[in-house]
């Protein structure tokens, strides 16, 4: 089988980076066309998926004086209407346009950037298509639903020189003390860290309910397997125990990816392996429970649900203090949203650049596959495959429902 290797992309990116930082910071102005506003101008934005977390994101961007928020897209009419009213009230006009189909927002040449907060099964399609349309993107976490999606999203961002930020604010904001201790050298050489997070998502066979007229159900399902409407199936709540789409495998990786994006993101940042993906995932089935040990090429270990171990406990070598190194942080003011907007202006990579976000969610996906297969795995980050493991490689991706395609 000739599943496409990702080595092409990796080599290309290395070459491009080696040329200079320049390719990433090119703007249209550099090409002699002044169609990109100067940094002092407002970034024109639209939002895709505006319920729940999307509403929170909309509020954050609306509150920024350097953003002009002009359009919303959602599969629920009531959500579109509420989001438009919010924007119109903010600007005291009636300019915000509403769309049931996200492609109408992407087709607007006047929009510079979009934020995406749909269920996870839509993220890759939307991010990649947004890049093809020249939009910068703030995409909520978890950014991917399958391993194959990540490199393709990075490809699209780099190919079109787009700023694409992942969405976990907690990576920077919740783990500051831990990051300071690790990067400050206080803990010496880091041996391991433990993350407690879960559960995995499950197959959903909830019964059919009458589809409310408010929702475009076919569009909600999009690339996911067809299934009948059920309120819990598509609830945007944060439940991972059956009460929301975050519980179900066609739309989410469950708590393993949802909170995993935060905890694994914070952990891999703290121990400074966020640019890497694990090379081995050891599966343990002890009397104390099932748990994992991820191994990185530099020898650092990342435990998942290690028995009798608290979340984010770091094992270092305290007697061997290391020189402090400066930890990366947000650029600009206003948290992760400000970081994104600042980078849209400067064309720098954001704190949660899509490649780092993809690496984080890859930890979740790799662990999920190990738990599903109930065995240990080896992983080749460059090739993006489980070397010689035909069974595990089947889990790299899943076919999307027609007509949706990456």
């Amino acid at each position: 089988m000739s599943f496409r290797s990702q080595q092409t992309r990796r080599k290309f990116l290395k070459t491009a980076v080696a040329v200079a930082a320049a390719p990433y910071v090119i703007t249209s102005n550099a090409l002699g066309q002044g169609d990109v506003p100067p940094a002092s101008d407002r970034i024109v934005m639209g939002g895709i998926g505006i319920g729940n977390q999307g509403s929170s994101d909309q509020g954050a961007f609306l509150g920024r004086p350097d953003v002009q928020y002009v359009a919303v897209s959602d599969v629920r009419e009531s959500v579109r209407k509420a989001a438009k009213e919010r924007a119109d009230q903010h600007y005291k006009n009636s300019d915000c346009q509403t769309y049931g189909d996200f492609r109408e927002i992407l087709a607007r040449d006047d929009i510079d950037a979009v934020h995406i907060a749909t269920p996870d099964h839509w993220h890759a399609i939307m991010v990649i298509e947004a890049c093809r349309h020249g939009k910068d993107v703030y995409c909520q976490k978890p950014e991917t639903l399958t391993l194959r999606e990540g490199p393709l999203m990075i490809d699209a961002a780099r190919r079109y020189a787009r700023v694409v930020s992942g969405g976990s604010q907690r990576v920077q904001e919740d783990y500051k003390e831990l990051v300071a201790r690790c990067w400050g050298g206080e803990l010496g050489a880091i041996k391991s860290i433990n993350v407690n997070v879960g559960p995995l998502s499950q197959l959903c066979n909830l019964p059919a309910e009458t589809t409310p007229p408010d929702i475009d159900w076919e569009m909600w399902l999009g690339p996911a397997a067809w299934a009948p409407y059920n309120a819990a199936r598509c609830s945007g709540s944060f439940a991972t125990d059956g009460g929301s789409w975050r519980s179900y495998v066609d739309y989410s990786g469950g708590g393993m990816t949802d909170w995993g994006a935060h905890h694994f993101g914070g952990a891999t940042f703290a121990i400074d392996v966020r640019e890497l993906q694990p090379v081995e995932i050891e599966y343990h089935n002890d009397p104390e429970g099932k748990h994992l040990t991820y191994k990185y090429a530099n020898g650092v270990l990342l435990h998942h649900n290690r028995p009798k171990t608290e979340n984010l406990v770091v094992e270092g070598t305290p007697g061997e203090k290391r020189p402090a190194k400066p930890a990366p942080t947000y650029k600009g003011e206003g948290g992760i949203y400000g970081d994104f907007i600042n980078c849209v202006k400067t064309r720098e990579k954001p704190f949660r650049d899509i490649e780092l976000a993809v690496n984080t969610v890859a930890v979740s996906h790799l662990g999920t596959i190990a738990y599903q297969l109930q065995r240990s795995l080896k992983w080749d980050q460059a090739a993006q495959e489980f070397p010689g493991d035909e069974e595990a490689n089947r889990f790299l991706d899943r076919a999307r429902r027609q007509p949706w395609q990456l």
């Binding site: 992309r9 197959l203 066979n205 067809w226 076919a399």
Partner: protein, 234 residues
Amino acid sequence: MLSNALEALKTYDWGTDRAVLAPIDEAVISTHDDEVSRRELEASLAAVLATPVSRDAKDYVCRKLMVIGTAASVPALALLLPEEEHSHMARFALARIPAPEAAAAMRDALASLDGELKVGVISSLGARGDEASVPALAALLASGDQQIARSAALALGDIRNAAAAQALAAAKPADPAVMRAVVDGRLACAERLLDSGDKSAAMAIYKPMLGADQPKQVRLAATRGMLACAGQKE
């Protein structure tokens, strides 16, 4: 009991007890090192696809065949490709079954399918990187169905070999959405060429994309690619 679980598939549907299928879930994993048992399980599951069970039951079977399916399951899955309700889940399995017969079944289906079902098959062949599909996909670039032409362009960009690059270079679609996909595919091919060290071929793709008639992001992509060409070590 596995036999009970297989029997339960006859009445399984949305809203019924999911737990009755647990023995099948367990058998899919536990037969990892037991080829004979796994092939028996595969045959039992594939046989269900030809019976009048619910859509949810067939979906479930396809999910399991995605994990354990071989060439032996391909005929049963291929029969579902033209069926509106089952085409996607048939691809769910076929797209991930490594046997070349799985790709061949999807290629064969291209000729008889139309509309969105055809788009689905095209996308799965592309995601699979199926080089044998290139001639068929190249012909579809000129399809009058915008969705099919666009899908073929994206699939060729996924495959990104020399033949795919040639087909995309020859495409002159009038539809902007198809053209966007063709350009994206060509850029993917250029990246592959760069990787292989063929800078002149990559430059030949990038250079015309610098024109003022191209969208901003395409000119950025071309500029970035040309800079990468300039920095490539011999």
